[in-house]
């Protein structure tokens, strides 16, 4: 069932969002119906939406899901869309007839592919809203949106708020102090953020002033010190950390305020998933629902899929260690080492480069590079040149925070960089 019809059926009477104005659920629904009337030419077409403000964005999502063939949520960075897809907003049509047939809309979100270049990934509304919890306690929450709703993390919060009949305010711009102020002014009681963003919010010294009832941590590994701090500040709130595998397209929430997840889950199903750990310490998950067809080929004989996440067992918990592929997670931003290495290798004096993660107590991980340079290189001169070159070609969080000059980098039998070796 499409988003609009779900909200019509739920028949929420409260406030859906607080922006510069308050917008109620019924107002959103009538706005969406008016849009369908005004833009019949968009029916069964692909539409690309840019985010500017919550009221317009939400009305457009409601109008176009189940109405258009595809919804492209444009990211902040430029990304091409297929030619026949129309940009929204556009001119209203002069034709005034519409048919009432509903269709399944594919939602496209920009994701950085394995090469680090953004690409479009299709989702169904059902898969995007699978994690949404609808319960009476959820409808009284007021969510603070910490990420743009064109990003996966932001859209999840937006759909949670909408489908559960809660209220939402955009707190996704500005520094931590400005965000806290927005949250305080609009009366936010629920937040979902990366551990890194939670740490920044804690650094404002004002987080405790928010009357939080629900706190969610996701997108990075949640550590025990942070969980302890948050549960001490909000002893009666619901505190969850979420594990989501974009590879496998499933996830689960842990609510006992302990890092990792209980070892006992390996023997019992949880969140509609079965769990196992292989000899390489990879976490494998088996969804109880039928996975999307493009994932079916990745199932092992028992129906499990490899998440690519490394785990280790510590007492009665399974703890996360990070990605086996070497993808670096800087405060929730994924960095592909190979992409950074390619940029560094564009400098003539650099012969070899190996990029990897260094643990950070602030952002989870930071990017570090070991490089081998020609013997005549003036290292003092090369350092600023490297930084300057990376600043031109990489996003800030991708730039190595440190360059180590090493004599050699070990390679494996096939001549590839040995990524499992201790770093220099």
């Amino acid at each position: 069932m499409d988003l609009l019809r779900q909200l019509q059926q739920a028949n929420y009477s409260g406030i859906a969002l607080i922006d510069s104005e308050q917008v109620g659920y019924q107002q959103l629904i009538s706005g969406a119906l008016a849009l369908r009337q005004q833009y019949p030419q968009l029916q069964q077409q692909g539409v690309a939406i840019r985010y500017s403000a919550l009221p317009q964005f939400l009305t457009a999502l409601l109008a176009f899901d189940g109405w258009c063939s595809a919804l492209y949520l444009l990211p902040e960075t430029e990304l091409d869309i297929p030619e026949q897809v129309q940009h929204w907003p556009c001119e209203p049509s002069v034709i005034q007839h519409t048919t009432s047939c509903s269709q399944d809309t594919l939602w496209y979100l920009a994701t950085s592919g394995t090469t680090g270049t953004p690409k479009w990934i299709a989702h169904t509304f059902a898969s995007l809203s699978r994690a949404v919890k609808v319960a009476a306690a959820q409808s009284s929450l007021h969510w603070g949106l910490c990420y743009q709703p064109t990003r996966f993390a932001g859209l999840q919060v937006l759909l949670q708020s909408l489908l559960s009949g809660a209220c939402i305010s955009d707190c996704s711009s500005g520094d931590a102090e400005q965000r806290i102020e927005m949250m305080l002014n609009s009366g936010v009681t629920a937040l979902s953020a990366t551990p890194s963003l939670w740490r920044q919010l804690l650094m404002t010294g004002c987080l405790h002033q928010l009357p939080l009832l629900q706190l969610t941590l996701g997108g990075e590994i949640a550590d025990q010190a942070l969980l302890n701090k948050l549960s001490a500040l909000f002893p009666s709130a619901r505190l969850l950390h979420i594990y989501a595998s974009t590879e496998v397209g499933v996830g689960f929430a842990v609510s006992d305020q302990q890092a990792g997840f209980p070892l006992s889950w390996l023997d019992t199903h949880h969140s509609g998933l079965a769990f196992k750990i292989d000899e390489q310490h990879h976490l494998w998950l088996k969804p109880l629902h039928t996975p999307d067809s493009n994932l079916a080929r990745r199932l092992d004989s028992e129906g499990y899929m490899d998440t690519g996440d490394l785990v280790h067992i510590q007492g009665n918990r399974v703890q996360f260690l990070g990605r086996d592929s070497g993808i670096i997670n800087v405060g929730g931003n994924k960095v592909h080492p190979e992409q950074v290495e390619q940029v560094i290798l564009q400098i003539a004096d650099v012969l070899q480069a190996k990029v990897y993660a260094k643990a950070s107590s602030v952002l989870g991980q930071l990017v570090v590079a070991d490089i081998v340079v020609t013997s005549h290189t003036d290292r003092a001169k090369l350092q600023p040149q490297l930084v300057g070159h990376c600043q031109q070609h990489l996003a800030r969080y991708q730039i190595p925070t440190r360059f180590n000059f090493v004599d050699h980098l070990s390679t494996n039998a096939t001549g590839k960089l040995n990524r499992k070796e201790p770093h220099g």
Partner: protein, 102 residues
């Protein structure tokens, strides 16, 4: 000759000044590589996240101080403490150094 109690106090004061100087030097160095423009006058009351250093710069500062001083107080805490001002930040490092010397 200073009495031992004053001598210890004096040494403690020197250590504090040295520590703050190290942090200031590292801060300036990190701001350059992180491409952050620091505000002109960083005082005890300066709010860290308004010093011109963003979260990435702050993470780099903590990482560099770990190399310079051999401690990362933020990774060792059971219940994390998050400094708001520059003075609070220096205090956390001073405390961690003292705990380490015990």
């Amino acid at each position: 000759m200073l009495p031992p109690i004053l001598f210890n106090l004096f040494n403690g004061l020197i250590d504090t000044v040295k520590l703050e100087q190290t942090i200031r030097t590292t801060l300036a160095h990190v701001a350059t590589i992180a491409n952050c423009k620091l505000i002109a006058d960083i005082t005890d009351d300066t709010v860290l996240l308004q010093s011109g250093l963003d979260s990435l710069g702050f993470a780099m500062l903590v990482a560099q101080l770990e190399e310079d001083l051999g401690i990362d107080p933020f990774s060792q805490m059971q219940i994390a403490v998050y400094p708001r001002t520059f003075a609070e930040f220096v205090t956390i490092y001073r405390q961690a150094q003292q705990d380490g010397n015990k």
